[in-house]
């Protein structure tokens, strides 16, 4: 069974859970460091998601998107 895909909402939800656990002061050192490491990963994921919708609005028409996708499908080796 594969892990569910990470989304912004699952990431922020887990991050809040981690911070609550750390705030409680009940986590011992090993758990604290593990939680901090996991939390940093989640912060990076969320920041990347926000960056993806923060670099300037890109407007295109449906036919342009379709053309772009078809061009991409025709040239799968092209990294652009």
């Amino acid at each position: 069974m594969s892990a569910p895909e990470q989304t912004y909402e699952t990431a922020t939800s887990r991050l809040e859970e981690i911070i609550r656990r750390l705030d409680s002061g009940e986590a011992e050192l090993r758990e604290t460091l593990a939680l901090c490491k996991e939390g940093r990963g989640l912060v990076e994921f969320c920041a990347a998601e926000l960056d993806a919708v923060g670099q300037g609005l890109e407007e295109l028409r449906l036919d342009e998107l379709v053309a772009r996708l078809e061009a991409g499908a025709a040239r799968p080796q092209d990294p652009s």
């Binding site: 981690i18 460091l33 919708v53």
Partner: protein
Amino acid sequence: MAEAATQRPDGIAGSSLPGPFPVGAYAKKLQEELRKRARLQLVGEAWNVKRSKARVYFELRDGDGALPCAMWNDAWEKCGVPATAFADGAQVVVAGGPDYYPGSRTSSPGFSFDVSALRIAGEGDLLAQVDRLRRKLDAEGLLEPQRRLPRPVLPRTIGVVTGESGKARDDVLAGLARRGWQGRLVWAFAPVQDRHAAAAITSALQDLAATDQVDVVVVARGGGSLADLFAFCDETLCRTVALLSVPVIASVGHHTDRTLIDDVAAIACSTPTHAAEAAVPLHCSEARLAIGAGAGRLADHARRAVLGRARHLAQLSRAPAQVVTRQRARLHQLLREMRASARRRGLAESGRQLRGNAAALERRAGVARGAGAASRQAKLDALGSALGAHDPERIVARGYAVVDDGEGAVITSAAAARAARRVRLFFSDADVRANIEDP
């Protein structure tokens, strides 16, 4: 004037028609004749609706012809038709009859259909039709699937189906700007009013979903009559929306309008701006601040976890040395107190003995003072000196030492010293402890 009216010109030569008659009389006659015609109801689309202080004017049209209509304001108000519903293109039923305003030398004549009552036609029929379809889709469970679809709080790509020239387009952009969202926006322009609208919108939705690139779709259109919005009640369109794998947010008409797409969509919003905001539930700027704050708190916890524990470990490592130092200081203090106590006890004992001896001597001296006082005094002085020579402090000052068993009992013999094993030697300046070794 009267004279002019009676002097009629000759008619047209060769014409067999009667006259000429004065036009005003004929106009009035025409008015009377038209008003005699049967009053009846007509149906058609209202166009060019205009309102004046006294009357409402419009044209009633269908594919074969048109009539200018006029309605007195009091009759209009009695009908109770909402002003928004009576817009250009509205299908209406009117009751009334033909009329003619004969005009005068200073005003133009006019023909109109005098409307005494009006209702929006087809509205009830359309509403009933929509309601039947809604019940049908509900019975098939098609009002639920869209609501069950997960909607991302931060979509990367949003599809928008709307009219290319409508205001809805600007409203969607305004809503996205409010959220601080700057992702990818895919416009799927389609007619939103004519008879081709439903098919075009359906096709646009299917094409958007087929790209597999769009996280959410907004369908937006401004207000209009139910007839205008009827495309969004199309059965095929609504079935397509219901079964689409991408969540659809509908914003069709004003907040008072309710089309069938509102019922099958994931969310129905009152304006395109709200629809855009619903497509991006997250406020991106606030989210960036919140994520930054979360990162800060994580860093604090990590730093505190390591530094706090390191500090604690350092305290623990220092603890044994501190305990030893404390105990050593306490031992020294106890030792000092013990020495002082022993010294006080030894001196007090010696003093008591001396005072006892002196008192006894005093008593003897008193007895002996009667005879040979002088010789006795001399002897007494000698005894006093001898006694002074036995003062323990003076003896100790001369290099002797007082020995006790450590508990204050004076040891006066080697046997007692051997028995005690550990003894204490009092010198003039301090005392020391010593172990007795058996010979």
